[in-house]
Amino acid sequence: SDLAAYFAEVVDADQKIEPRDWMPEAYRRTLIRQIAQHAHSEIIGMQPEGNWISRAPSLKRKAILLAKVQDEAGHGLYLYAAAETLGVSRDELVDLLLDGRQKYSSIFNYPTLSWADVGAIGWLVDGAAIVNQVPLCRCSYGPYARAMIRVCKEESFHQRQGYEILHTLAHGTAAQKAMAQDSVDRWWYPSLAMFGPPDGDSTHSAQSMAWKIKRFSNDELRQRFVDMCVGQAEALGLRLPDPELRWNDERQAYDFTQPDYDELMRVIKGNGPCNRQRMEHRRRAHSEGAWVREAAAAYAAKRAVKEKEKVAA
């Protein structure tokens, strides 16, 4: 059809598909799923870091952390708005999350056990997210690409803050340095797993590549992330917990140990250390807030009636 041809042409030419444009139903569905999952990840991802706001060890760090968690809520909102341009409502998507029918990034199912984890999440988890997301700024769907540009800008700010936290700890007291190393030890492999299963096992990839939703394979991005981290870890004075990590001159890249993909699958299936806790937290906030949302709606309805009466009078 003409529409399909026009769609293919726009994608091929690296132009943007916009909400008003025709698009294949599978493209729409893929994007909704991916953007929603991304939005859910921002919202659920507030919890592990939010866990340390009340205990942040200086007022400055408390302010930075609070602002960061707030930014994540903001990212969630942009992304839900981007998904809404595809003809689905935020409420529907939130219900899909709360019912467990849509996922969020598995990384947020690990617990934050120390203040240093706030640093490690910033450095490694946000770092991995950026490597994943930078290519999405060129994604074929306009609203998603534009949301990602904004998100990535803020994420790289967050990543720098995380790096700074770890840097301060790694150059602080012996206990602080040990805390930092312990965090890196716990977060390294889960961060590597954020790029998804190895390319051989990845399902949706080929079609997403063709549609220019995805631009690099899981393994390419993972390698890029490892190569980026090695030098930063050295600068931090922290050790990446991989005895096999070494420069491969032939590949011009670092060799490294793959994360435990069985563990990744367990966590994706809902059986990570914190899946139940994260979902219960979100469900509780949602259900405990129901009376407030209802009140706001009732108030707005009353006001609308009053406005009408005023106009009529």
Partner: protein, 241 residues
């Protein structure tokens, strides 16, 4: 030690403890936009707290910075009003607390902005704009909840009933301070009365006046709040963060 120290410390402690309580809502608010709004208000309070405590430390002249004051005092040394340390309760209680706090902070910071002490005047000038937003936000929710559903009306009235008595402490006379809080009461009363009327809520008659915060005699809640807030800082004496 400057005579401004106790006053500045009290204001800083109000803001700090308010920030700590408001930040407890992060990831728990009734809607995502409200999560962001409450974090914003917490950030404003925290920002004011940092300016006030830093300045209090200078006024004291004993070498304590904002973190020394925030993290290394016990509850008996805190000078915040009881209102801000009360547990959050439900969203209605939190909005009742925020209404009372911001309806007090707006005229307070406005008056402070005109006081002779330049540092305090600068802090007041910055904070009064933020407080005006906090007041708008709280007033909006008090109206929505008061004039929303039957349940929200009941909860909002209960929230007001629960916190109203704690307002008196805010306006205890302090004639030597750069701003005597007693002079702010009538503006406060006008503000709150108007909001409650619009919200179809009643001002409770209370008959008790809890106080003690300004003298370091707090509720049983504050020491728990501080135990959590200070735990990491205190576990690493002398560390930088």
């Amino acid at each position: 030690m400057s005579e401004l120290f106790p006053f500045t410390l009290a204001l800083g402690d109000d803001a700090l403890i308010a920030a700590q309580r408001l930040a407890e809502w992060s990831t728990r608010a009734p809607e995502m936009e409200e999560d962001i709004a409450l974090s914003n208000i917490a950030l404003d309070q925290l920002g004011a707290a940092r300016l006030l405590l830093s300045y209090a430390g200078e006024l004291e002249g004993a070498g304590r910075d904002e973190d020394a004051l925030a993290y290394l005092r016990d509850d008996r040394e805190f000078r915040n009003c009881l209102l801000v340390e009360l547990p959050n309760g439900d969203f209605a209680v939190t909005m009742a607390k925020l209404l009372v706090l911001s309806a007090y902070q707006v005229p307070l910071y406005t008056a402070l902005a005109g006081c002779p002490d330049e540092r305090l005047a600068a802090i007041g000038g910055k904070a009064r704009k933020e407080s005006a937003y906090h007041l708008d936000h709280a007033a909006l929710w008090v109206r929505r909840l008061g004039d929303g559903t039957e349940e929200s009306h009941r909860r909002m009235q209960a929230g007001i009933d629960q916190v109203w008595a704690y307002a008196d402490e805010l306006f205890a006379a302090r004639p030597d301070a750069p701003v005597d809080p007693a002079t702010l009461r009538s503006e406060f009363d006008d503000t709150v009365t108007a909001v409650l009327a619009e919200a179809t809520l009643t001002l409770p008659e209370v008959g008790w006046t809890p106080a003690g915060g300004r003298d370091g005699v707090h509720t049983e809640h504050l020491s728990y709040l501080l135990a959590e807030m200070q735990v990491v800082h205190r576990a690493h004496p002398g560390a930088r963060w």
